[in-house]
């Protein structure tokens, strides 16, 4: 009897009469655009429009070819690749490399450069990330004005699926892997002034760990420890901390005062003055931002 039923289901499937629910645990959101019929009906394009389209394509290809050939011509006239005498490696570079260890205390010259000599630039980068999250939040955050009843029902359904469906293999593996990812991220952040890495890469790793956890356990489980409130708190406090500590060092540097922050022994974790603090701030901002992007795109909430 059972096989009979199965066979009939199989025949149905072959004939294309699929039962309504194929996958009980997942569903594909069927968006029926409000303007489908207008959009997909045979549109008789006027001759003018078609000509414009062809003209546009030809112009685009021509413009691209011109740009690429000009750039290629420029490339052949660049200073020789890999030569030590090319104008890019001038006295600024020498100064950064030769005096960097002495002045910033960072073994990693890149970290010393971006977080000490050019720290204002990095502050701008962190602000850009912060503003980007703000913009995405403005566009995607779900509130009363931004959500229809239909979408609300869908989100509710999603929440129920998330609560009921548990994938044991995935969740067990993620439970093992996530702490390792976090540990590696923290290691990269804290060793930013000693080895390759720093706030941006370490923050991105930690953000990836959070995203992995959220993707396998559901956003709700992350919300218990990381919600809108903590997100706001961490990002603003980290940005403020960055701004204040850098303002202090700019103030003292401009007036020729002693900073009073010991540079420590090069190579030790607790060395190189403010760079470690700034690295931690940047790492926190980047981790929060990465997770914020994911969460806003998936759910419209953090």
């Amino acid at each position: 009897m059972g096989t009979n039923k199965q066979r009939s289901r199989f025949i149905d499937w072959v004939n294309g009469d699929t039962p309504e629910k194929i996958h009980e645990y997942s569903y594909v959101k069927k968006t029926i655009p409000s303007h489908t019929e207008q959009a997909h009906e045979e549109v008789i394009t006027p001759k003018k429009a078609r000509l414009f389209d062809i003209g546009y394509r030809i112009t685009a290809v021509a413009v691209c070819l011109v740009v690429v050939s000009v750039l290629l011509y420029t490339v052949f006239n660049l200073p020789l690749f890999g030569s030590p005498n090319n104008p890019a490696s001038n006295e600024v570079v020498e100064r950064y490399v030769e005096k960097g260890l002495e002045e910033t205390g960072a073994v990693n010259a890149v970290a010393g450069m971006i977080l000490d000599y050019r720290a204002f630039d990095t502050f701008g980068e962190s602000s850009v990330l912060f503003i980007a999250v703000g913009c995405v939040m403005m566009l995607l955050l779900r509130d009363k004005n931004n959500i229809s009843a239909e979408e609300d029902a869908l989100a509710e359904k999603e929440r129920i699926i998330e609560k009921e469906v548990k994938d044991p293999i995935l969740q067990k593996i993620v439970l093992v892997v996530t702490p390792c990812i976090f540990m590696f991220g923290i290691y990269v952040v804290l060793n930013g002034h000693l080895s390759p890495g720093g706030g941006f890469s370490g923050g991105a790793i930690m953000g990836a760990g959070l995203i992995l956890f959220a993707a396998s356990f559901g956003t709700n489980s992350v919300q218990r420890i990381f919600n809108m409130k903590t997100f706001r708190g961490i990002t603003t406090i980290a940005l403020m901390c960055y701004a204040l500590s850098k303002a202090y060092s700019f103030f003292t540097g401009a007036n020729g005062l002693e900073t009073g922050i010991p540079l420590g022994i090069p190579g030790a974790i607790l060395s190189s003055g403010l760079i470690l603090v700034l690295d931690i701030c940047v790492g926190l901002i980047v981790a929060c931002t990465m997770y914020g992007f994911y969460s806003l795109f998936v759910r419209g909430e953090i």
């Binding site: 207008q38 549109v43 290809v61 750039l71 690749f81 490399v97 960097g100 010259a109 890149v110 980068e125």
Partner: protein
């Protein structure tokens, strides 16, 4: 001919960057799908990063992480392009996220990510 080939091999990274830039630029102009436009924008970004990183490289030198207290500048590559690439990556990520959020809103309103259809529907709406 062999001279030319020699030059091409010497400038391989820059040439690859220019070609990638061309691919990205052409797709940016020709693709109608907004998501593909964003992807091509990212390809252009990557080409710029490759170009900058190749400008900082110097033959036979190591990454600017000071080991054994050797602070002579003739041992290390140029650290400045690395910092510029970092800035570029951050801006590229932020801009991509912003674009994607805008496309998300457009999709919500018009039900499509095709540029032409969005323009058509918007024109119809304005009438």
């Amino acid at each position: 001919m062999s001279d030319f080939l020699q030059t091409v091999v010497t400038f391989r990274f820059e040439i690859a960057a220019v070609i990638l830039f061309g691919i990205g630029f052409m797709n940016l102009l020709l693709q109608k799908n907004l998501i593909r436009k964003i992807i091509s924008f990212n390809i252009m970004d990557s080409s710029i990063f490759l170009f900058l990183a190749s400008q900082g490289f110097i033959d036979g030198r190591v990454a600017p992480i000071i080991v054994n207290g050797v602070t002579d500048a003739s041992n290390y590559i140029n650290p400045i392009p690395t910092g510029l690439v970092l800035t570029g990556i951050v801006v590229s990520v932020s801009v991509s996220a912003f674009f994607l959020a805008l496309v998300h809103r457009l999709y919500k309103k018009y039900g499509t990510v095709e540029f032409d259809e969005i323009i058509m529907l918007a024109k119809k709406e304005a009438e």
